[in-house]
Symmetry: C2
Subunit: 163 residues, 2 copies
Protein backbone atom coordinates (compact mmCIF):
# COMPACT_ATOMS: atom_id res chain seq x y z
CA UNK A 1 0.00 0.00 0.00
CA UNK A 2 1.18 3.50 -0.79
CA UNK A 3 0.81 6.39 1.61
CA UNK A 4 -1.96 7.60 -0.72
CA UNK A 5 -3.82 4.29 -0.29
CA UNK A 6 -3.48 4.46 3.51
CA UNK A 7 -4.58 8.07 3.61
CA UNK A 8 -7.64 7.46 1.46
CA UNK A 9 -8.59 4.52 3.68
CA UNK A 10 -8.26 6.72 6.78
CA UNK A 11 -10.34 9.58 5.34
CA UNK A 12 -13.03 7.24 4.01
CA UNK A 13 -13.16 5.43 7.36
CA UNK A 14 -13.46 8.66 9.34
CA UNK A 15 -16.32 9.78 7.15
CA UNK A 16 -18.15 6.45 7.39
CA UNK A 17 -17.68 6.24 11.18
CA UNK A 18 -18.70 9.86 11.79
CA UNK A 19 -21.88 9.41 9.79
CA UNK A 20 -22.65 6.15 11.57
CA UNK A 21 -21.98 7.73 14.96
CA UNK A 22 -24.13 10.76 14.12
CA UNK A 23 -27.04 8.43 13.36
CA UNK A 24 -26.50 6.47 16.59
CA UNK A 25 -26.70 9.59 18.76
CA UNK A 26 -29.39 11.39 16.76
CA UNK A 27 -31.87 11.13 19.65
CA UNK A 28 -29.42 12.24 22.33
CA UNK A 29 -28.80 15.74 23.57
CA UNK A 30 -25.34 16.95 24.42
CA UNK A 31 -22.49 18.46 22.43
CA UNK A 32 -19.93 16.82 20.19
CA UNK A 33 -16.21 17.19 20.84
CA UNK A 34 -13.62 17.25 18.06
CA UNK A 35 -10.16 16.45 19.44
CA UNK A 36 -7.57 17.73 17.00
CA UNK A 37 -8.64 20.25 14.36
CA UNK A 38 -5.74 20.00 11.91
CA UNK A 39 -6.75 21.20 8.48
CA UNK A 40 -10.39 21.14 9.64
CA UNK A 41 -11.75 18.67 7.09
CA UNK A 42 -13.37 16.26 9.57
CA UNK A 43 -14.67 19.24 11.58
CA UNK A 44 -16.23 20.58 8.38
CA UNK A 45 -17.86 17.19 7.81
CA UNK A 46 -19.07 16.98 11.42
CA UNK A 47 -20.78 20.33 11.02
CA UNK A 48 -22.61 18.92 8.01
CA UNK A 49 -23.78 15.69 9.65
CA UNK A 50 -24.32 16.97 13.22
CA UNK A 51 -25.97 20.32 12.52
CA UNK A 52 -27.28 22.03 14.69
CA UNK A 53 -25.50 20.21 17.52
CA UNK A 54 -22.78 22.21 19.32
CA UNK A 55 -19.28 21.09 18.36
CA UNK A 56 -16.42 22.04 20.69
CA UNK A 57 -12.98 21.79 19.15
CA UNK A 58 -9.86 20.97 21.18
CA UNK A 59 -6.61 22.03 19.55
CA UNK A 60 -3.14 23.10 20.61
CA UNK A 61 -2.41 25.42 17.70
CA UNK A 62 -5.03 26.37 15.12
CA UNK A 63 -3.84 25.92 11.51
CA UNK A 64 -7.12 25.12 9.78
CA UNK A 65 -8.58 26.28 6.51
CA UNK A 66 -10.55 29.54 7.05
CA UNK A 67 -13.94 27.99 6.27
CA UNK A 68 -13.25 25.14 8.70
CA UNK A 69 -12.20 27.20 11.69
CA UNK A 70 -14.57 27.15 14.68
CA UNK A 71 -15.85 30.37 16.24
CA UNK A 72 -13.78 31.49 19.25
CA UNK A 73 -16.36 30.40 21.80
CA UNK A 74 -16.37 26.83 20.44
CA UNK A 75 -12.59 26.51 20.44
CA UNK A 76 -10.80 25.08 23.50
CA UNK A 77 -7.14 25.94 23.08
CA UNK A 78 -4.36 24.02 24.77
CA UNK A 79 -2.97 20.56 25.41
CA UNK A 80 -5.76 17.96 25.68
CA UNK A 81 -4.20 16.53 28.86
CA UNK A 82 -5.10 19.88 30.46
CA UNK A 83 -8.18 20.93 28.54
CA UNK A 84 -10.11 17.63 28.79
CA UNK A 85 -10.19 17.66 32.64
CA UNK A 86 -11.24 21.34 32.46
CA UNK A 87 -14.02 20.38 30.04
CA UNK A 88 -15.19 17.69 32.45
CA UNK A 89 -15.45 20.32 35.23
CA UNK A 90 -17.24 22.72 32.91
CA UNK A 91 -19.70 20.41 31.11
CA UNK A 92 -19.87 17.21 33.14
CA UNK A 93 -20.34 13.81 31.44
CA UNK A 94 -22.55 15.02 28.59
CA UNK A 95 -20.84 14.45 25.25
CA UNK A 96 -22.98 12.58 22.74
CA UNK A 97 -20.09 12.16 20.31
CA UNK A 98 -16.33 12.49 20.63
CA UNK A 99 -14.10 12.27 17.58
CA UNK A 100 -10.32 12.03 17.92
CA UNK A 101 -7.69 12.17 15.22
CA UNK A 102 -4.71 13.28 17.25
CA UNK A 103 -1.98 11.08 15.85
CA UNK A 104 0.94 11.70 13.57
CA UNK A 105 2.54 9.10 11.33
CA UNK A 106 4.45 7.22 14.03
CA UNK A 107 2.24 4.25 14.89
CA UNK A 108 3.99 3.33 18.14
CA UNK A 109 3.78 6.93 19.40
CA UNK A 110 0.11 7.13 18.41
CA UNK A 111 -0.65 3.97 20.37
CA UNK A 112 1.08 5.28 23.49
CA UNK A 113 -0.75 8.55 23.15
CA UNK A 114 -4.11 6.80 22.70
CA UNK A 115 -3.43 4.70 25.81
CA UNK A 116 -2.58 7.79 27.84
CA UNK A 117 -5.46 9.92 26.65
CA UNK A 118 -8.18 7.23 26.95
CA UNK A 119 -8.87 7.82 30.70
CA UNK A 120 -9.24 11.55 29.98
CA UNK A 121 -11.80 10.94 27.23
CA UNK A 122 -13.87 8.21 28.89
CA UNK A 123 -15.54 10.33 31.65
CA UNK A 124 -16.67 12.99 29.15
CA UNK A 125 -19.13 10.72 27.38
CA UNK A 126 -22.81 10.73 28.30
CA UNK A 127 -24.45 7.33 28.84
CA UNK A 128 -24.90 5.90 25.33
CA UNK A 129 -22.42 8.38 23.91
CA UNK A 130 -20.20 7.34 21.01
CA UNK A 131 -16.47 7.81 20.46
CA UNK A 132 -14.85 7.62 16.99
CA UNK A 133 -11.08 7.41 16.83
CA UNK A 134 -8.36 6.87 14.23
CA UNK A 135 -6.40 4.93 16.87
CA UNK A 136 -7.42 2.02 19.06
CA UNK A 137 -8.54 3.41 22.44
CA UNK A 138 -8.13 1.85 25.88
CA UNK A 139 -11.48 2.29 27.64
CA UNK A 140 -12.86 0.26 30.51
CA UNK A 141 -16.40 -0.99 30.12
CA UNK A 142 -17.14 0.62 26.74
CA UNK A 143 -18.32 -1.57 23.90
CA UNK A 144 -16.32 -1.61 20.67
CA UNK A 145 -18.92 -1.40 17.89
CA UNK A 146 -18.69 -3.14 14.51
CA UNK A 147 -17.54 -0.80 11.74
CA UNK A 148 -20.09 0.57 9.29
CA UNK A 149 -19.96 -0.07 5.56
CA UNK A 150 -16.98 1.53 3.75
CA UNK A 151 -14.89 1.81 6.93
CA UNK A 152 -11.59 -0.09 6.68
CA UNK A 153 -10.65 -2.29 9.66
CA UNK A 154 -7.71 -0.83 11.56
CA UNK A 155 -8.15 2.68 10.15
CA UNK A 156 -10.98 3.67 12.49
CA UNK A 157 -12.52 2.51 15.78
CA UNK A 158 -15.94 3.13 17.33
CA UNK A 159 -16.82 2.76 21.01
CA UNK A 160 -20.02 3.27 22.93
CA UNK A 161 -20.53 4.11 26.60
CA UNK A 162 -23.07 1.90 28.36
CA UNK A 163 -26.55 3.44 28.13
CA UNK B 1 -20.48 18.40 0.11
CA UNK B 2 -18.07 18.88 2.96
CA UNK B 3 -14.39 19.65 2.47
CA UNK B 4 -13.78 16.04 3.57
CA UNK B 5 -16.03 14.78 0.75
CA UNK B 6 -14.23 16.94 -1.80
CA UNK B 7 -10.82 15.90 -0.54
CA UNK B 8 -11.67 12.19 -0.67
CA UNK B 9 -12.98 12.61 -4.21
CA UNK B 10 -9.76 14.34 -5.24
CA UNK B 11 -7.47 11.69 -3.72
CA UNK B 12 -9.52 8.81 -5.11
CA UNK B 13 -9.56 10.46 -8.55
CA UNK B 14 -5.81 11.06 -8.49
CA UNK B 15 -5.20 7.42 -7.64
CA UNK B 16 -7.55 6.11 -10.32
CA UNK B 17 -6.14 8.43 -13.01
CA UNK B 18 -2.51 7.73 -12.11
CA UNK B 19 -3.08 3.98 -12.30
CA UNK B 20 -4.94 4.32 -15.59
CA UNK B 21 -2.20 6.54 -17.02
CA UNK B 22 0.51 4.15 -15.84
CA UNK B 23 -1.19 1.34 -17.75
CA UNK B 24 -1.57 3.50 -20.87
CA UNK B 25 2.15 4.30 -21.03
CA UNK B 26 3.41 0.89 -19.87
CA UNK B 27 5.03 0.20 -23.24
CA UNK B 28 6.65 3.63 -23.55
CA UNK B 29 10.11 4.65 -22.46
CA UNK B 30 10.76 8.03 -20.91
CA UNK B 31 10.53 9.42 -17.41
CA UNK B 32 7.55 10.57 -15.40
CA UNK B 33 7.31 14.09 -13.99
CA UNK B 34 5.53 14.95 -10.73
CA UNK B 35 4.69 18.66 -10.61
CA UNK B 36 4.11 19.70 -6.99
CA UNK B 37 5.35 17.32 -4.30
CA UNK B 38 3.39 18.63 -1.32
CA UNK B 39 3.12 15.97 1.37
CA UNK B 40 4.40 13.42 -1.15
CA UNK B 41 1.41 11.05 -1.15
CA UNK B 42 0.82 10.98 -4.90
CA UNK B 43 4.60 10.74 -5.47
CA UNK B 44 4.66 7.72 -3.14
CA UNK B 45 1.84 6.16 -5.14
CA UNK B 46 3.55 6.93 -8.46
CA UNK B 47 6.67 5.13 -7.25
CA UNK B 48 4.49 2.11 -6.56
CA UNK B 49 2.70 2.04 -9.92
CA UNK B 50 5.53 3.30 -12.16
CA UNK B 51 8.48 1.38 -10.71
CA UNK B 52 11.22 1.26 -12.07
CA UNK B 53 10.53 4.29 -14.26
CA UNK B 54 12.46 7.47 -13.35
CA UNK B 55 10.28 10.06 -11.64
CA UNK B 56 11.51 13.65 -11.58
CA UNK B 57 9.82 15.88 -9.03
CA UNK B 58 9.31 19.62 -9.54
CA UNK B 59 8.75 21.58 -6.36
CA UNK B 60 9.34 25.07 -5.04
CA UNK B 61 9.88 24.16 -1.41
CA UNK B 62 10.15 20.58 -0.16
CA UNK B 63 7.88 19.82 2.79
CA UNK B 64 7.13 16.15 2.21
CA UNK B 65 7.00 13.20 4.54
CA UNK B 66 10.51 11.69 4.91
CA UNK B 67 9.60 8.40 3.20
CA UNK B 68 8.06 10.30 0.27
CA UNK B 69 10.96 12.63 -0.45
CA UNK B 70 12.79 12.07 -3.74
CA UNK B 71 16.56 11.64 -3.86
CA UNK B 72 18.42 14.89 -4.57
CA UNK B 73 19.21 13.96 -8.17
CA UNK B 74 15.51 13.41 -8.95
CA UNK B 75 14.39 16.70 -7.44
CA UNK B 76 14.12 19.81 -9.60
CA UNK B 77 13.86 22.73 -7.22
CA UNK B 78 12.32 26.05 -8.16
CA UNK B 79 9.28 27.67 -9.70
CA UNK B 80 7.83 25.52 -12.49
CA UNK B 81 7.67 28.52 -14.82
CA UNK B 82 11.48 28.43 -14.73
CA UNK B 83 12.22 24.75 -14.21
CA UNK B 84 9.94 23.34 -16.91
CA UNK B 85 11.69 25.20 -19.78
CA UNK B 86 15.03 24.06 -18.29
CA UNK B 87 13.72 20.48 -18.23
CA UNK B 88 12.75 20.78 -21.90
CA UNK B 89 16.33 21.84 -22.74
CA UNK B 90 17.76 19.04 -20.64
CA UNK B 91 15.50 16.11 -21.58
CA UNK B 92 13.67 17.09 -24.76
CA UNK B 93 10.08 15.97 -25.41
CA UNK B 94 10.35 12.58 -23.70
CA UNK B 95 7.96 12.42 -20.72
CA UNK B 96 5.69 9.38 -20.79
CA UNK B 97 3.59 10.67 -17.90
CA UNK B 98 3.21 14.09 -16.27
CA UNK B 99 1.15 14.49 -13.11
CA UNK B 100 0.29 17.95 -11.79
CA UNK B 101 -1.30 18.87 -8.48
CA UNK B 102 -0.03 22.41 -8.09
CA UNK B 103 -3.15 24.12 -6.89
CA UNK B 104 -4.36 25.44 -3.58
CA UNK B 105 -7.97 25.83 -2.47
CA UNK B 106 -8.83 28.88 -4.57
CA UNK B 107 -10.55 27.52 -7.68
CA UNK B 108 -10.30 30.70 -9.74
CA UNK B 109 -6.58 31.03 -9.00
CA UNK B 110 -6.03 27.36 -9.84
CA UNK B 111 -7.73 27.82 -13.18
CA UNK B 112 -5.61 30.85 -14.07
CA UNK B 113 -2.50 28.95 -13.01
CA UNK B 114 -3.48 25.91 -15.10
CA UNK B 115 -4.09 28.15 -18.14
CA UNK B 116 -0.69 29.78 -17.73
CA UNK B 117 1.27 26.60 -17.09
CA UNK B 118 -0.32 24.50 -19.87
CA UNK B 119 2.01 25.75 -22.67
CA UNK B 120 4.98 24.94 -20.43
CA UNK B 121 3.81 21.35 -19.88
CA UNK B 122 2.65 20.52 -23.40
CA UNK B 123 6.10 20.37 -25.14
CA UNK B 124 7.53 18.04 -22.47
CA UNK B 125 5.32 15.10 -23.41
CA UNK B 126 6.54 12.38 -25.73
CA UNK B 127 4.21 11.36 -28.60
CA UNK B 128 1.49 9.28 -26.91
CA UNK B 129 2.47 10.61 -23.48
CA UNK B 130 -0.24 11.13 -20.87
CA UNK B 131 -0.90 14.06 -18.55
CA UNK B 132 -2.97 13.74 -15.35
CA UNK B 133 -4.06 16.93 -13.61
CA UNK B 134 -6.28 18.00 -10.73
CA UNK B 135 -7.20 21.09 -12.75
CA UNK B 136 -8.50 21.42 -16.28
CA UNK B 137 -5.57 22.10 -18.60
CA UNK B 138 -5.48 24.20 -21.74
CA UNK B 139 -3.58 22.19 -24.34
CA UNK B 140 -3.74 22.51 -28.09
CA UNK B 141 -4.20 19.30 -30.05
CA UNK B 142 -4.16 16.91 -27.09
CA UNK B 143 -7.08 14.53 -26.61
CA UNK B 144 -8.98 14.66 -23.31
CA UNK B 145 -9.48 11.01 -22.34
CA UNK B 146 -12.55 9.62 -20.60
CA UNK B 147 -12.00 9.11 -16.86
CA UNK B 148 -11.36 5.62 -15.51
CA UNK B 149 -13.63 3.88 -13.00
CA UNK B 150 -13.69 5.48 -9.53
CA UNK B 151 -12.50 8.89 -10.78
CA UNK B 152 -14.96 11.70 -10.07
CA UNK B 153 -15.74 14.09 -12.95
CA UNK B 154 -14.27 17.53 -12.29
CA UNK B 155 -11.76 16.30 -9.71
CA UNK B 156 -9.23 14.99 -12.22
CA UNK B 157 -8.45 15.34 -15.92
CA UNK B 158 -6.47 13.14 -18.32
CA UNK B 159 -4.95 14.22 -21.62
CA UNK B 160 -2.95 12.38 -24.25
CA UNK B 161 -0.45 13.74 -26.75
CA UNK B 162 -1.01 12.53 -30.33
CA UNK B 163 1.01 9.33 -30.95
C1 LIG C 1 -1.45 20.38 -3.32
S1 LIG C 1 0.25 20.23 -3.12
C2 LIG C 1 0.62 18.68 -3.86
C3 LIG C 1 0.13 17.49 -3.02
C4 LIG C 1 0.60 16.14 -3.53
N1 LIG C 1 -0.08 15.76 -4.76
C5 LIG C 1 0.37 15.07 -2.47
O1 LIG C 1 -0.29 14.06 -2.76
O2 LIG C 1 0.86 15.21 -1.35
C6 LIG C 1 0.88 21.43 -4.25
C7 LIG C 1 2.40 21.62 -4.24
O3 LIG C 1 2.76 22.36 -5.40
C8 LIG C 1 3.82 23.24 -5.11
N2 LIG C 1 3.77 24.37 -6.04
C9 LIG C 1 2.73 25.22 -6.24
N3 LIG C 1 3.04 26.14 -7.17
C10 LIG C 1 4.31 25.86 -7.57
C11 LIG C 1 5.21 26.47 -8.51
N4 LIG C 1 4.83 27.57 -9.21
N5 LIG C 1 6.42 25.92 -8.68
C12 LIG C 1 6.80 24.83 -7.97
N6 LIG C 1 6.01 24.22 -7.08
C13 LIG C 1 4.79 24.73 -6.87
C14 LIG C 1 3.54 23.67 -3.68
O4 LIG C 1 4.73 24.09 -3.03
C15 LIG C 1 2.91 22.42 -3.06
O5 LIG C 1 3.88 21.67 -2.38
NI1 LIG D 1 6.37 7.91 8.52
NI1 LIG E 1 -11.26 27.85 0.70
Amino acid sequence: MSRLDLFIDRMVSQRACLEHAAALVADMNGPAFELGLGNGRTYHHMRKVLDPRDIYVFERAVASHPDSTPPDDMLILGDVFETLPQALDRFGPVAALVHADLGGHDRAKNDTFARNISPYVQPLLAPGGVMVSSDRMYFEGFEELPLPEHAVPGRCFIYRAPG
